[in-house]
């Protein structure tokens, strides 16, 4: 059964490699602008929460849109938001892994990483400004943070989150549940410390 299909696949693949794009370039970009770019805010929000910095979020979203555009022929309609979010998520992971390797190469310097008194005051003030829960969410492990952001800020359903992350629905539910548990614990602990 598979044997008969393989040559046919090969032919269609070579045809795809050599033929001109079926959709004219201009309208391909227009189609992309219509179907994918309306979800730019969602993409940026997720990237910003995953990367925790404006500059990194910007880079991740730029890179994600470029990747999305390159793979756009593989997008068969459907949920453009879930599709873009999946790409943002993977791109953010790649950035973080790269970052992990870089920072592992730099030895940890006690003197530059210990907060001095003025820094500490600033740190506490910052923390009050952004709010307790914001602080706690930023410190959630990235796997938990991502499902929480998709559920609470993007208001996506379990099924949509599962399709955007490639996780099983059961995994989405358990990560969300553990994220909430951790948030409650973190909020309590931090409240006690600041009192």
């Amino acid at each position: 059964m598979l044997k008969e299909r393989a040559p046919a696949r090969l032919v269609s693949l070579s045809v795809r490699l050599f033929r001109k794009p079926a959709v004219p370039v201009q309208s391909r970009l227009e189609l992309f602008e219509e179907t994918i770019l309306p979800h730019l805010d969602s993409a940026y929000n997720l990237a910003r929460w995953l990367m925790r910095s404006d500059a990194d979020a910007d880079d991740v979203v730029q890179e994600s849109c470029l990747r999305a555009f390159r793979f756009f022929d593989g997008f068969r309609g459907g949920d453009g938001k879930a599709w873009l979010i999946e790409i943002v998520r993977n791109t953010a992971r790649t950035f973080q892994q790269r970052r992990g390797r870089d920072s592992a190469a730099v030895p940890f310097d006690e003197t530059t990483h210990t907060l001095g008194a003025p820094d500490l005051e600033q740190h506490v003030a910052d923390r009050e400004r952004v709010g307790l829960l914001h602080h706690c969410i930023e410190r959630l492990p990235v796997d938990f943070r991502e499902v929480l952001v998709l559920r609470e800020l993007e208001e996506m359903s379990y099924r949509e989150i599962a399709s955007a992350t490639g996780l099983a629905i059961g995994t989405v539910m358990s990560r969300l549940s553990r994220a909430r548990k951790r948030l409650e614990d973190c909020a309590h602990r931090t409240e006690e410390v600041s009192q």
Binding site: L2, Y44, D58, L66, L148, E152, S163
Partner: protein
């Protein structure tokens, strides 16, 4: 009714259907422990939404992306070095594919025996279920939801069990087409690994089989009425544990 945390969260996340909502609300009215737990969840949800900012894309971002994409989309002229390179790249890929396809077909011819074919089909199906979005037609950890779902889709009724307590939580199931018939595929997970358990009527000729393909382990057995094949990347002893639980 027991008000499990899962059920409460599904409630605040709007994931329950009307009858499940009604049943839970009726129970909440009578159970203060549950309504307290629910109130805590709702408060937390409200606080999260109030204190976690939604970061909108900065105003210049969209324009700068569209600029980049326009450059990306500009067609390279036919005789540019890039186009020539692409042509050669295409020819090279086609050549590699041709050789790969020929050798693969030869390999297929060599292993034409029946268990091998089934094993190949099973592993192929397992991999497709993981890379695609078609892992579950009926996502539910409740055997009493999954089993009735198969009725009307199959000409037999598969034995559906939830083995959460034994470390094999049920994720749900789907219908697959294998070896020329419809079969049931139950999805369990073991830690982070997915296990597909394929079930169809009939005995397994030659009795129990242990196979390994492309890094996946397969265990086939039959209880005389149904044939079972478990496929996963967990170790063979763990598949045997699953089989023992299914006997």
């Amino acid at each position: 009714m027991n008000c499990s945390p899962d059920l409460m969260e599904a409630y605040v996340d709007n994931e329950l259907d009307a009858s499940q909502r009604a049943a839970l609300e009726q129970h909440l009215a009578a159970c203060s422990a549950c309504s307290d737990a629910l109130a805590r969840l709702q408060t937390l949800q409200g606080e999260i939404r109030a204190s976690a900012p939604y970061f909108k894309a900065p105003s210049g971002l969209r324009a700068s992306i569209v600029d980049t994409l326009r450059q990306e989309a500009a067609p390279p002229s036919a005789s540019s070095p890039q186009a020539v390179l692409n042509l050669w790249r295409g020819i090279a890929i086609a050549g590699v594919l041709l050789v790969a396809s020929l050798s693969w077909n030869l390999a297929q011819l060599r292993m034409k025996t029946r268990p091998d074919q089934i094993a190949q089909e099973l592993v192929g199906d397992h991999i497709r279920s993981l890379i695609g979005t078609h892992l579950l037609d009926v996502p539910s950890s409740d055997q009493h939801t999954v089993k009735p779902w198969f009725a009307g889709k199959l000409d037999f009724s598969p034995d559906v069990r939830d083995l959460s307590a034994q470390g094999f939580p049920l994720d749900g199931g789907r219908v697959e087409y294998l070896s020329g018939r419809r079969v049931a595929a139950l999805v369990f997970h073991r830690r982070l690994h997915v296990i597909n358990l394929f079930i169809w009527p009939g005995a397994l000729p030659g009795g129990e089989k242990h196979l390994a393909r492309d890094g996946y382990n397969l265990l086939g057995w039959s209880d005389g009425v149904m044939t079972y094949w478990a496929v996963s990347d967990v170790s063979p002893p763990e598949l045997e544990t699953l089989r023992a639980l299914y006997r």
